[in-house]
Amino acid sequence: MKKLLQIALGVLTAIGGFVDIGDFVTSAVVGARFGMSLAWAILVGTLGIVVYAEMSGRVAALTKRAVFDVVRERLGVRFAMANLFSAYFINLLTLTAELAGVAIAIELATSVNYLLWVPIVGLVVWLVVWKLPFEVMENAFGMLGLCLLVFIIALWQLGPDWSGMLDHASHPTVPQGEGHPTWWYYAIGLFGAAMTPYEVFFFSSGAVEERWGRQDLITNRLNVFVGFPLGAAISLSIMACSALVLGPLHVEVSHVSQVGLPIALALGKLGVAAMLVGFFAATFGASLETLLSAGYTFAQYFGWTWGKAASRPREASRFQTVLLISLFAAMALALTTIDPVKVTEYSVVLSAAALPLTYFPILVIANDRGYMGDKANGWFSNTIATGYLVIIVAVTLVTLPLMIATKAGM
């Protein structure tokens, strides 16, 4: 019974944790601009993260090693160092966006400018990673993040022409007045938002912290197979709400408030309140996850003590130092009044460009029978994972040229 509760909790947490500002903003921007014609990109990205997160959890359970550990072992010191820098840089951009997201949620509830909230949010985030029982916070925020399910209710309330929408989504065409490169650029953005590497860094490190073993492989599967698809359902409903309400008015989504307008229309004040709570919780949870991931990547590359292995912060002083520096850097970046929505868009696209460095070693090690024994990848997951490897390599090759050609989607 206790086990069941634990699994349920894990799954619930997962749902909250798998929607962050990247999915939120990108889905809304794309929905308003391209309707449901890019819904497939969310589905493709979600299947990808499901397959690779499951592998990373399985590797962590059997070898007690988190993803970045494996990255260095298989890629060698130099490639892994390149990955360390790129992953860290993208992580920092994402952290900046998430911190700003938390502050924006508070701004929308208080009408006090978000820049004033950034330092306070930063301080609270730091206190959580410094001292408070982290799992409690993580679970609490995961649960609150479920408020984002309000988008599914709103969509139902808006009463769309379901079959027309499904038809539109299943026969994607580039809308009039939009170029193919721009359309593909945003497809990559959605793909990158779904497959952000920090998710596997965090997920696998969490599995190591929780001392997952062979018996936890079911928990792993449940987390991944329920959590990510539900996150995707939320992303899709955000996209559909935007497409239905914002699209016909040619709204260019550049603020979080605009994403809330369809909710206000469909569900009124209570709906908006639920959305703000959900958005607050999701971005706060993601702030914790991205910040810790920044620390994990460094600690796992250099072999430092990280996380619970240290009973007091001073025993993991290098790890804690990286956290503090990263948090300050992200806060400083947010306070330059840099547009958080733009930062989000850049971070999801750049993370799409860096995917193979992270996912390739996971695939290799999940096949190593010396480590995995009978739990090595079967032909089924290998077929899908290899397909995705080809996709992410292709994405890496085209992302930067597309970014330049479309002036970042303008």
Binding site: T63, K64, R65, E73, V77, F302, W304, S317, T321
Partner: protein
């Protein structure tokens, strides 16, 4: 018989080193070979830490990785942190030592940061 063969690059190098109670010590950044043994060369020690790691890079990156570590050395010597091979108790996904954390001298950077930075924050 098969488990008696160990490939240094693939099975030892870059793996995590942990103490007997599971605390991280560092990575196997290099291995020291003693060429003067009568029965042929043997692995004498695991080398860990940024000084050993820095030597594996070329150019500016090498200087960058190494210099932080060097600056923190009270003695100013450039020898990497060395763990005698006799401390090793098993080699698998993790290289485990037979001693607890308290028996090993702490890494320079960890100790320095604990004393001068992190340790000064309340609650550390």
């Amino acid at each position: 018989m098969a488990d008696q063969i160990l490939y240094a690059g693939r099975q030892l190098l870059d793996r995590q080193i942990a103490t007997s109670e599971g605390r991280s010590v560092g990575k196997v950044d290099d291995l020291e070979i003693d060429l003067d043994q009568p029965g042929g060369p043997v692995v004498a020690a695991l080398l860990t830490g940024q000084i050993a790691l820095g030597a594996r890079f070329r150019g500016r990156l090498s200087v960058w990785v190494t210099s932080i570590a060097q600056r923190l050395r009270a003695s100013g010597d450039l020898e990497p942190r060395r763990l005698d091979i006799r401390l090793v108790s098993s080699v698998a996904a993790t290289v485990t030592l037979r001693v607890p954390h308290g028996d090993l001298p702490p890494a320079d950077l960890e100790a320095w940061l604990a004393e001068h930075f992190i340790g000064r924050i309340p609650g550390a």
